[in-house]
């Protein structure tokens, strides 16, 4: 190609005459490869002339093409000249210019040229033409002739061209000749013939069926190259039907053992690794053979182990073998010893500083977590790091991995992460892929867990997503997936599924059941739906959705029969069905929209006591009311199962469900709520809410730390800066990032068991207190105790606060896992109290206790002589506080436990008094505080505003709620004042103003997302009730506050 002379190119600076491989690389060592520095001169030259070059290029190529065209048309052009023309034409085509005039000449060159011209001709043909090109028919005879040639080179060229692209219907013409070549004395010909047959097999499997026995011969060929080539075919065959080739397992294992053992000629070595391509091919075949077949797998265990062991050299090619080996080990019937080694291998990959290996490690993890999700646990930190990796590919792979370990507890965090990625990505294909996954996760987890409290437009949007897509393959797959997963859901227990989810299910089944072509029984979906109708818990609205779906399915006789049966029972509903389908649905039948033909039935049904028809609007209103009234079980919960949270008082085994009712949907992140008993819950606890609606939330510093100084505790373990203990953070670096660990715990929630890695400590804090000598009273001060006015939560806390005392005996170890007992040291006989740190370290945004260090108070003399309240710390003594409540006194008469709450301006302090009622000295005692469910979102705290400010704020808030509340009636107060006072007392709301029968009240949120956000209440006495109108900038706040108000008023 001398369009411009070679040296001219270099002088212009377009190209660097640098070799691809440096010296070090030629020594077969890629790892040390370093790019040579670019000379400055070339670079500047390049920049200057770049523009010129591209303009010039186009001009040159156009000119060149014109001249080529002229030349090929000329009868005087020799074959040798034609060869040069072809090369030029190929070059022009590659640059994107059409040179179709040369196609026919390329064929001619292949037909008529000498060996050397023929080769270029074949090359041009293979580059220019497609399998469907009619020109190719002209080539068949030439190929046939060359295949039979005595010149090896010609045979090779012909074999190369047929395995590159060959029209399907022309295969029979040359197949016998190619088959013949399988017995050719030259191994290069045999090899190419095998590969050509492999290609034929891929294009038209039927045509090569009769030569399977010859493939076996190729497999046993004395030349390893031919054998390797035949493995391509076998891989394909075994992939398609592993059962028919089980007998080959032994041979494959033998071959692999020989290869691994270095029995092949040195020619096959690649960077001193014996035939890596062959090894990988064999490993892949073994994976297919041993999949779900214990007997076959057992044959290969030894050789797999040997491959793992041998592939130790530090080179890319050995990593490739290792990766394939690990994949095979995890595909075949498991053997624990091998799995262990493979897992170790994956670990090395994941931890590797080389980015390619990290990527493959993640990929391997993705593959293996499908079998054992716990394998991801040791790599939590790495995975979190990869989630924020600068390389999108790594990020994507990490998401893929997370997708595989999604469960009910971490689904929200993972979906958040995926959406975050979606926002950044621009690639259509990955978007479609990811959206499908998000939808899948959402459908199956979120819907089924919290369906009823979702906004109605969420399911509607989801349905729209399903319905709107163009009829592409992806959409169909998504729909089919939805249908399949819903059918399997319905086949299970449906009683627990939320109504909204059932509605979504019915709609999807109605619309897309036809996609399940393989389903031979058309009535199955129908029957499932009918079963749904018959269930008592199915609501009116859902039934109408189900009926709507059934009408759509009435296409087969079975379905019609079923439908008729159903119809008779549910006629009175029929009318509402038509009115109630919210999305546009195409009906295949004509509908009398007035449904006049049903009038008779309707009146009959009404007479028989059926409910009268209500318009959708009416029903919607009813639904709203229903929702408002039934706040208790679901109203404030998140779309994630609360039922998974079991809160059991460890000692009394009492359920305290009220704690849960405080949670709200503010964050959309529910992982914090999920707690399990005992050590299985290691990873759940103290999960900090770092992912909010707007993405990552900075660690929120609680406003207004109480001024109580931190008591410096003697043990280094207790200081917050102390390095994490080895057992707790084995996989983290020297300075593990707290946030990462928190994220990890929220992502890996629900995985693993107690012996797995624990990143965050248990929430159920156990402290053991040693009391020496004379100290009878011990004051535990929890500070700063951010809590709202939710008394029940506190009461529950106090209820579950149990003192386990052994009289004056030894410390009772209640919780091995988290307890850290400090040996008490008695120095000089003076009273000395030590507490253990109880920081719920990862905090959890919801955790009320933040650094609830146990503050030892000075020992006090004779508690019975003084009222306990006199032991209040000075800084708290002036503040309003609740009555002292005695707790658990019956547990042990020698010890009394009481508590009171002190309201600070911005915090609620819980004081726990422990007093020794005996005269004997208490040497040691253990205090266990179970406060794992102290997660209260909302705290309503006085918001001091003037009436004028109130008015301004009122207008600016968008979320409001109206509700009637019960009025509190007392003898000496107006009902309004009494009610407001009750609310003030219970919830610490700020009464801004009371004018006549109206009162305005304000409060703000103290904790959680939306901290400091106000909520305004407007109350008016209306007949016997109090009409309350709540407004807030936070959507969930009015709802929640209303709930608290209701609760507070019911209590009084």
């Amino acid at each position: 190609m001398n369009l411009i002379s070679k040296s001219a190119y270099i002088n212009m600076g377009y190209f660097q005459p640098f070799p691809f491989l440096c010296l070090s690389e030629r020594d077969d060592n890629m790892e040390k490869s370093k790019q040579r520095p670019e000379p400055m001169q070339a670079l500047t030259l390049y920049k200057h002339s770049r523009c010129l070059y591209f303009q010039e290029e186009e001009k040159l190529i156009k000119k060149e093409l014109a001249s080529l065209k002229e030349q090929v048309a000329s009868p005087n052009t020799t074959m040798r000249q034609m060869k040069e023309i072809m090369v030029r034409a190929i070059y022009c085509e590659m640059l994107g210019y059409q040179a179709s005039f040369s196609y026919i000449h390329a064929i001619k060159l292949a037909q008529q040229g000498s060996v050397l011209e023929k080769r270029v001709g074949y090359l041009a043909v293979s580059l220019f033409l497609k399998e469907t090109d009619e020109f190719l028919l002209l080539l068949v005879n030439t190929v046939l002739k060359d295949l039979q040639s005595t010149n090896l080179i010609e045979v090779c060229m012909a074999l190369t061209v047929v395995s590159q692209m060959f029209p399907k219907d022309m295969i029979p013409a040359i197949l016998p000749v190619v088959e013949e070549k399988l017995t050719h004395p030259k191994e290069i010909i045999r090899r190419k013939a095998v590969l050509a047959l492999y290609k034929f097999y891929l294009i038209a499997p039927n045509q090569v069926q009769h030569i399977h026995s010859k493939f076996r011969k190729a497999l046993c060929d004395k030349d390893p190259g031919v054998m390797t080539a035949s493995l391509h075919i076998y891989l394909q065959l075994i992939k398609e039907s592993p059962e028919s080739y089980k007998d080959l397992t032994g041979s494959m294992v033998t071959i692999l053992r020989q290869v691994v053992g270095g029995k092949l000629p040195l020619d096959f070595n690649y960077h001193s690794v014996p035939a890596p391509w062959l090894q990988i091919q064999l490993l892949r075949i073994l994976a297919y053979l041993g999949k779900e077949d214990q007997g076959t797998s057992e044959v290969m265990y030894d050789v797999l182990e040997e491959s793992l062991r041998r592939a130790e050299m530090n080179h890319n090619i050995t990593y490739a073998i290792l990766y394939e080996c690990v994949k095979t080990i995890y595909t075949v019937h498991p053997k624990s010893q091998l799995l262990e080694k493979a897992a170790e291998c994956i670990g090395n990959f994941v931890l590797s500083p080389k980015i390619n290996l990290k990527y493959l490690g993640l990929k391997a993890l993705t593959y293996v977590v499908q079998q054992d999700a716990n394998l991801a646990l040791p790599h939590q930190i790495t995975i979190i790091e990869c989630l924020d990796h600068s390389d999108v590919i790594i990020k994507r792979e990490t998401l893929e991995l997370l997708f595989r370990i999604t469960n009910a507890q971490n689904v929200t965090v993972i979906v958040e992460k995926m959406l975050e990625f979606l926002r950044l990505t621009s690639d259509d294909y990955s978007t479609i892929d990811l959206v499908g996954k998000v939808a899948e996760l959402t459908m199956n987890s979120v819907f089924s867990l919290g369906g009823d409290v979702m906004q109605p437009d969420i399911p509607n949007n989801f349905l729209r997503l399903l319905a709107e897509g163009v009829d592409s393959v992806e959409d169909r797959q998504l729909r089919l997936f939805a249908v399949d997963s819903y059918v399997s859901l319905l086949q299970g227990e449906t009683a627990k599924l939320p109504q909204r989810f059932l509605q979504v299910i019915s709609w999807v089944l109605g619309e897309y059941s036809y996609l399940r072509e393989e389903d031979s029984d058309p009535g199955s979906v129908m029957r499932l739906l009918a079963r749904l109708l018959d269930q008592r818990h199915t609501s009116t609205e859902t039934r109408s959705w189900v009926l709507g779906a059934m009408t759509k399915l009435c296409s087969s006789p079975v379905s019609v029969a079923l439908a008729r049966d159903v119809c008779e029972r549910y006629l009175s509903w029929a009318k509402s069905v038509w009115a109630n389908i919210p999305l546009c649905v195409t009906f295949e039948i004509l509908v009398d929209s007035s449904l006049s033909f049903l009038d008779g039935y309707v009146s009959e049904a009404l007479a028989a006591g059926a409910a009268p028809y209500k318009s959708p609007h009416q029903r919607q209103e009813e639904l709203v009311q229903e929702k408002a009234l039934s706040l208790e079980p679901y109203g404030l919960s998140l779309p994630v199962s609360l039922s998974s949270c079991s809160i059991t008082d460890r000692l009394t085994d009492r359920q305290s469900p009220t704690l849960l009712s405080m949670s709200s949907g503010l964050s959309g992140n529910s992982t914090e709520l999920s707690h399990k008993e005992g050590s299985t819950a290691l990873k759940l606890d103290g999960v900090k809410r770092v992912w909010g609606k707007d993405g990552y939330l900075a660690q929120q510093q609680s406003a207004g730390e109480t001024p109580i100084p931190q008591v410096e505790l003697p043990s280094p373990l207790l200081s917050p800066q102390s390095p994490p203990s080895q057992t707790q953070k084995p996989s983290s670096g020297p300075e593990p990032d707290q946030e990462k660990r928190q994220l990890a715990s929220s992502l890996f929630v629900g995985l693993g068991s107690h012996n797995s890695v624990c990143l965050v400590r248990l929430p159920s804090t156990v402290c053991s207190v040693s009391i020496a000598d004379q100290s009878n009273v011990f004051k535990a001060l929890f500070k700063p105790f951010y809590i709202n006015s939710c008394r029940s939560a506190l009461h529950n806390l106090l209820d579950t606060t149990t003192v386990a005392s052994e009289g004056g005996a030894a410390t009772t170890t209640l919780q091995q896992t988290s307890q850290r007992t400090l040996d008490h040291t008695t120095s000089n006989g003076s009273p000395h109290v030590e507490g253990t740190e109880q920081r719920v370290e990862a905090g959890g945004p919801l955790s009320l206790i933040r650094g609830n260090d146990l503050h030892p108070a000075p020992a006090l003399e004779r508690p019975r002589d003084l009222p306990l309240t006199s032991h209040l710390p000075a800084e708290l003594s002036g503040l309003a506080r609740s009555e002292l409540t005695t707790l658990c006194s019956d547990h042990d008469p020698s010890l009394a436990l009481s508590a009171c709450r002190v309201y600070k301006e911005d915090a609620l302090v819980l004081l726990v008094f422990i007093s020794n009622n005996t005269d004997s000295t208490l040497h040691q005692m253990a205090l266990q505080l179970t406060c794992k469910e102290l997660e209260v979102y909302f705290s309503d705290w006085p918001l001091t505003v003037s009436t004028g400010d109130y008015g301004k704020m009122w207008l600016s808030f968008s979320h409001d709620l109206k509700q009637n509340l019960r009025l509190v009636t007392t003898e000496h107060q107006e009902p309004l004042t009494a009610t407001l006072d009750a609310l003030k007392g219970k919830l610490h709301l700020h009464i801004v103003d009371v004018i006549g029968s109206e009162g305005i009240v304000a409060c703000r949120l103290l904790q959680g997302q939306g901290q400091g956000q106000p909520c305004l209440l407007h109350c008016r006495v209306h007949a016997d009730s109090l009409a309350v109108w709540l407004r807030s900038p936070v959507p969930e706040l009015p709802d929640s506050l209303l709930y608290h108000c209701q609760k507070a008023l019911t209590e009084t």
Binding site: I10, P19, R36, I90, G225, Y270, I393, Y429
Partner: protein
């Protein structure tokens, strides 16, 4: 199986293309465009693997030239990197200190070498010695001394 192999320069100029599966012309153009933008847009020290539709893309930069191939989903990425490397080694052995210009001016040779190395998207021969022997054998037949001398040289 490998679906395609592309060699392109830092400016996105195609230097060599090989398609192992039938791809319509328009699709080819799109793939080439997508590959160059994707690969050239990668930051240094990123991993050498990408996704494109359901294909795995493995690429590596050698001096000024990018070697990029598209693979089936089940293929081993690391192995593909070694395929690229072996190809570069073969070119290097043939041309001696191979650089982009060698491929521009002797691209048909680069194709012939590739045809000996890969057949139908699968590696057919991995031995450097065997490969160069067979390449040389066919070269001897082809190239007359006269042609050899007329080749442009630096």
């Amino acid at each position: 199986m490998m679906h395609f192999l592309l060699l392109f320069s830092r400016q996105g100029k195609l230097r060599l293309q090989k398609w192992f599966t039938p791809v319509p012309e328009r699709e080819k153009k799109k793939i080439v465009r997508d590959m160059t933008t994707m690969v050239l847009g990668r930051k240094p020290r990123s991993c050498n693997f990408l996704h494109w539709k359901d294909l795995k893309i493995v690429y590596k930069k050698y001096a000024s030239l990018y070697f990029c191939c598209g693979l089936d989903a089940e293929e081993n990425e690391l192995l593909a990197l070694e395929v690229l490397h072996r190809y570069v080694e073969l070119l290097d052995k043939y041309f001696g200190n191979v650089c982009e210009l060698d491929i521009i001016f002797n691209f048909e040779k680069a194709y012939f070498i590739l045809d000996e190395f890969l057949l139908g998207g699968e590696v057919q021969e991995t031995s450097k010695q065997v490969l160069s022997r067979s390449i040389e054998a066919s070269d001897m037949l082809q190239e007359t001394m006269e042609e050899y001398m007329s080749k442009p040289a630096f």
